[in-house]
């Protein structure tokens, strides 16, 4: 396993160096991808190795940065799960990037992009491997910074700099909170290694536990995109190159989940029931609001970014239900809920990665992300359309794809909670189930919109008219992820059974979770519910094949008449007659008008002679961005106010600065004196 570990490092390092040194653009793109693919494959192998041998992989370099306990890596099953998840998406994204980044040739530096991508993947892979606080924070920060530079790739685009600013601010606020959480934890520990933190956590008071947990939740939540800390996602994800968006949205935000699990469940060893309740509430809020905002988006990648907020919400509902059940002592139920959350994390990585890659192909082919300018792409990009459809079906939770399995499991893990006798649990679970059901339905509507408006009907602009299919490397990358979506769905039973090892952080959880899978059936504790993804897939396959055959036989007997698509008998059909993305969402905009508070702006230009002849119509509708307007705008104004006030200190006079130095020195000496006495 040490070999695999080094191979992973070497792969990514090679990718970074090759990107910097290779001659010519083509070589740079190839080198970047090769290194990243080697690194990603090695990381998957390493993760599988940890699963297979049930052993923890450890590697220490205490001499490196010894002031803060050195660099240490410790990969247990929980970390390995997230490492594997990184690798699973990283490999296709790297392959995709080889083709996709060709658009940047001559405009932006490919070398910089390639090196940053490999360093991003490297640090991101090492986050779940970290064995002490220093290593964790180093890698976390490395991941944040490299991804910031990746977001800034298209820096000439108008919104990119703004997006990068939001991302940087949110992620660093998060790091500050995480750092505070770790410092509080480490106060009583011998060293900052996770082993010692775990031991020290037992000695901390319950209040301290809760303070650490809330700090960590806020810190990691800002990375995960939990509402109301999600504001950077819909800005940064569209701005980044598409394979980077896929990585950020598919993988990086999951490391926020990893952080919460690592600190809350592992280091702190779980907590009171309200932790779980808090997670469920925040998760359900993110899920419902995320999908509601996704529905209103006409920018394909922003829609996907909001949908990531929704899915992170679902994951947190699972994690929250797990920790709630744990605190109530219902270990088997907790196991199901946690595996549902984790499995959804894995599945979301697969289908959201694929969706972003698909959106990237669309952007690559047409140069726009505005769905109202797209349409008709299914004929021009048939492969991309097929892959995008697969991922849309998966994210909408349709069998036999993977989204269905994890959402089913999530529902089944919450339903028993409705019968719980503990106070507040039953209503909470009922509300959570309701929120989940609402989310599922709206998500399906959202992806009908995303797929339908983008790929069906006739093109709405010349750019969409002349679109071309993605290059081979891009198609291969999308194909891998599409197969992963189907595989994770059909073969869910053995995979879930294997995942039970991940939950070894708490005694009894693993054993309880291993019960989920048996033969072809997935079953929740006490056979509360049973489902077989493989049999459903088989049944669907038989039905589809039967219908197909039946149609063929009938067609052979009766003959086939091929007609035009029915368009209400119109003489000509133009794109202007099509349903737009805005129009598709209009019914929901009305239903949820309380939330959106849409403002409509309709200006019509009539012909000077007669009002029956309209020259132009301009329609604009905006929804109230609640979080930005009422949470962040005052906050930003406040911070800027402080900034302006502190500027008075910066007088520009050297005398004043010397005075500050003396005052600081005296204050320090004073502190020493007080402590000495």
């Amino acid at each position: 396993m040490t070999f695999l570990f080094w191979l992973m490092l070497a792969g990514y390092a090679f990718g970074a160096v090759a990107a910097l040194l290779a001659p010519g653009n083509r070589a740079v793109r190839r080198g970047t991808a090769t290194g990243a693919v080697v690194g990603a494959t090695a990381s998957i192998a390493l993760a599988l190795g940890v699963f297979a041998t049930d052993a923890t992989f450890a590697f220490d370099a205490p001499a490196l940065l010894s002031v803060a306990d050195g660099v240490a890596f410790r990969l247990d099953a929980l970390g390995a799960f997230f490492l594997g998840l990184v690798g699973l998406v990283a490999a296709p994204c790297a392959i995709y990037g080889a083709g996709y980044s060709a658009t940047y040739e001559g405009r932006y530096s490919l070398r910089f992009l390639g090196a940053a991508l490999n360093l991003f993947l490297l640090t991101m892979s090492l986050v779940p491997c970290a064995g002490n606080v220093l290593t964790f924070l180093l890698m976390w920060e490395g991941m944040s910074l490299t991804s910031y530079f990746l977001v800034m790739t298209e820096r000439d685009e108008p919104d990119t700099v703004n997006a990068g600013g939001w991302y940087l601010a949110m992620t660093h606020a998060g790091v500050a909170l995480v750092l505070a959480a770790f410092l509080l934890l480490a106060a009583g520990a011998d060293t900052t290694s996770f082993v010692h933190l775990r031991a020290a956590a037992i000695r901390l008071s319950p209040t301290m536990h809760s303070v650490v947990f809330v700090l960590a939740l806020l810190g990691f939540g800002s990375k995960a995109g939990l509402m109301p800390l999600h504001v950077w996602l819909p800005r940064a994800h569209p701005a980044a190159p598409s394979h980077v968006s896929a990585l950020m949205s598919g993988v990086m935000i999951k490391l926020g989940v990893y952080g919460v699990l690592r600190v809350g469940l592992d280091l702190l060893g779980g907590g009171p029931a309200w932790w779980g309740a808090l997670l469920i509430v925040l998760g359900a809020l993110s899920a419902v609001l995320g999908v509601l905002y996704a529905l209103m988006e006409n920018d394909l990648k922003r829609l996907l970014a909001y949908s990531s907020v929704e899915n992170v919400g679902l994951i947190f509902v699972g994690v929250g239900a797990g920790s709630l059940f744990l605190s109530l002592g219902a270990v088997p139920a907790a196991g199901v809920a946690l595996s549902a959350g984790l499995y959804h994390a894995l599945n979301h990585a697969a289908f959201k990665g694929l969706l972003f890659l698909g959106a990237g192909s669309v952007l690559h082919a047409t140069g726009t992300r505005d769905m109202n300018l797209l349409g008709g792409l299914i004929r021009r990009l048939p492969w991309t359309a097929l892959f995008f459809l697969t991922a849309s079906l998966a994210i909408a939770g349709l069998p036999p794809l993977n989204g269905f399995v994890s959402e089913w499991l999530l529902f089944q893990s919450l339903l028993p909670g409705i019968g719980s006798s503990a106070p507040f649990v039953a209503p909470l679970m009922t509300l959570a189930v309701g929120a989940l059901a609402l989310t599922g339905g709206l998500a399906a509507a959202g992806f009908v919109k995303a797929f339908g408006v983008t790929f069906l009907a006739i093109p709405r602009s010349p750019a969409a008219e002349h679109a071309h299919e993605a290059s081979l490397s891009m198609r291969i990358a999308m194909g891998i992820l599409a197969i992963a979506c189907a595989g994770l769905g059909v073969a869910a039973v053995p995979i879930l059974a294997a995942l039970s090892a991940v939950l070894a952080v708490r005694t009894g959880l693993s054993a309880a979770t291993a019960e989920i899978g048996g033969g072809v059936w997935l079953s929740t504790p006490e056979r509360f519910a049973q489902m077989s993804p493989a049999l459903i897939a088989l049944g669907l396959g038989v039905v589809i094949a039967g219908v197909w055959l039946g149609v063929r036989v009938m067609a052979a007997r009766r003959g086939v008449r091929i007609g035009e698509t029915w368009g209400c008998g119109r003489v000509t059909q133009t794109p202007r007659m099509e349903y737009t993305a805005t129009a598709f969402a209009e019914p929901l905009r009305r239903v949820f008008a309380e939330l959106y508070r849409p403002t409509k702006d309709l200006s019509i230009d009539f012909h000077p002679e007669s009002r029956y002849f309209v020259q132009s119509i301009e329609y604009r509708s905006e929804i109230v961005p609640w979080f930005e307007r009422y949470l962040y705008a005052p906050l930003i104004a406040r911070v800027q106010g402080w900034g302006l006030r502190t500027r008075a200190l910066q007088s520009g006079s050297a005398h004043a600065y010397l005075t500050y130095l003396v005052i600081a020195l005296l204050a320090l000496l004073g502190m020493l004196l007080v402590q000495g006495a």
Binding site: R561, G563, E564, W566, C568, G569, R570, V571
Partner: protein, 168 residues
């Protein structure tokens, strides 16, 4: 509450069936029986207004009123020719509606029936020779049965429908 007071104020608004109503009921039952035998389900009709004065439409919508209530007897008006067994075409075919009528006809799955309702549909009626008229319905698409009258009564329309199903 307002609903109840309205019910009290207005009282019973339904009328007894006009004389000759038994005939209509008999026709309806016959259509029902034939359609059931032919399709094993209700007859699906798509109405196409190819340029009528809407007098015919009034009578056709009369078919679905509480008096005739044709839906009950398996005469079902559908929203797309894709779902239809029969087209009910009214009026002279105007220039603007000629292509849509042909497209509608083509979009209707085979086997299909066409019933042309009203005098206009057969002869263009008072609109004959107008610059805006392309011709009678049978000049544009094949017609199975004509229903005469300006406008024809619902009972006549029912007879036309019956005649068309009877041809098969």
């Amino acid at each position: 509450m307002r609903l109840f007071s309205k019910i009290l104020q207005v009282g019973i608004a339904t009328e007894p069936l006009a004389p000759g109503g038994d005939e209509v009921v008999r026709l309806l039952h016959e259509v029902d029986a034939r359609a059931r035998r032919l399709f094993g389900r209700a007859l699906a009709i798509r109405e196409v207004d190819a340029g009528s004065c809407n007098g015919c439409e009034l009578e056709i919508s009369g078919l679905t009123s509480p008096v005739y209530d044709s839906e009950r007897f398996g005469i079902h008006f559908v929203a797309s020719p894709r779902h239809a067994d029969m087209l009910l075409v009214t009026g002279p075919v105007t220039r603007n509606m000629a292509v849509p009528l042909v497209k509608t006809y083509e979009a209707t799955p085979d086997p299909k029936l066409v019933v042309a309702v009203g005098d206009c549909a057969r002869t263009c009626g008072v609109f004959q020779g107008s610059y805006a008229v392309a011709g009678s319905v049978d000049q544009i698409i094949p017609v199975d049965v004509f229903v005469d009258g300006c406008p024809p009564e619902p009972a006549d329309i029912l007879r036309g429908i019956l005649g068309a199903i009877g041809r098969r």
